[in-house]
């Protein structure tokens, strides 16, 4: 029973990770690639890590406490990942726009119209 749940979680994670990596190849410019890579790989990594966490929590009861430590440390790694990943994406997007890479086929670009933001 619990193994089926873990398999499903791992499968979802692998599917979204693959989708993100594939979107990295397929999309035309930096911003859309960031969409694919940030959202999909973060979501997929959350699910693969959740598989590990469920594995750890389940065997915490049946076998030994070290599996519980595995679950907790995996959870902290997941938390750090979720905090840092969108921030890195924001930094890259901002740097790309400032260094003169504008979105391709854009309908509207309010940031370019406004000019340089003073910070």
């Amino acid at each position: 029973m619990i193994e089926t749940v873990i398999y499903i979680f791992l499968a979802i994670g692998v599917f979204f990770n693959g989708l993100g990596s594939f979107g990295l190849i397929r999309f035309p410019d930096v911003y859309t690639r960031l969409h694919a890579s940030t959202k999909c790989t973060t979501f997929g990594s959350i699910f693969t890590s959740l598989g590990v966490i469920i594995y750890g929590v389940y065997y915490w009861h049946t076998e030994s406490t070290s599996y519980g430590v595995l679950a907790i440390h995996a959870f902290i790694a997941l938390l750090a990942l979720v905090i840092t990943n969108p921030t890195g994406a924001h930094a890259i997007a901002r740097a790309a726009h400032k260094s003169g890479v504008y979105p391709k086929r854009a309908v509207v670009d309010k940031l370019k119209e406004k000019g340089d933001l003073s910070d």
Binding site: S66, A80, I83, T84, T87, H90, A91, R94, D119
Partner: protein, 153 residues
Amino acid sequence: MMSKIVRTITNILYSSILIFGFYVIMHGHLTPGGGFQGGAVVASGIALVLIAYGYDTIKNWIKKSNLSILESIGAVSFIGVAFLGIGTTFFYNFLANSGSLFGNPTVIGINPGDLNTAGALPLMSWAVGLKVLAGLGSIVLLMAYGIKKGDGE
């Protein structure tokens, strides 16, 4: 000075990086880690603050002279702990299995570990950790400083 989102995340992450680096140094004799690794982690935290706030803001918070004092403390205490065991040999682990500070004997074989073991090793680990922390941190700060000064010439 990077954007506001990056700065707020830096504020949250910096203390986490500090306590995690200290954890890595402290548990060097039980889990993977030790002086080098923990020092590198904390130095990366200093690099993070440097990039998020810029050199001008950070120079009031983290003084280079404090870092060099810290490095000297690390070097002196490392050699000092090494000399303390000179009754037998240089670098003799005089505290192990003695029952005092860090002096509990380890159970031989497979075990989860007890923090209060390993004798002089945690002390040396802390000395090397301080040294690596201060050394690598001041290298990054000095290079940022040198680039900034060089533009005016």
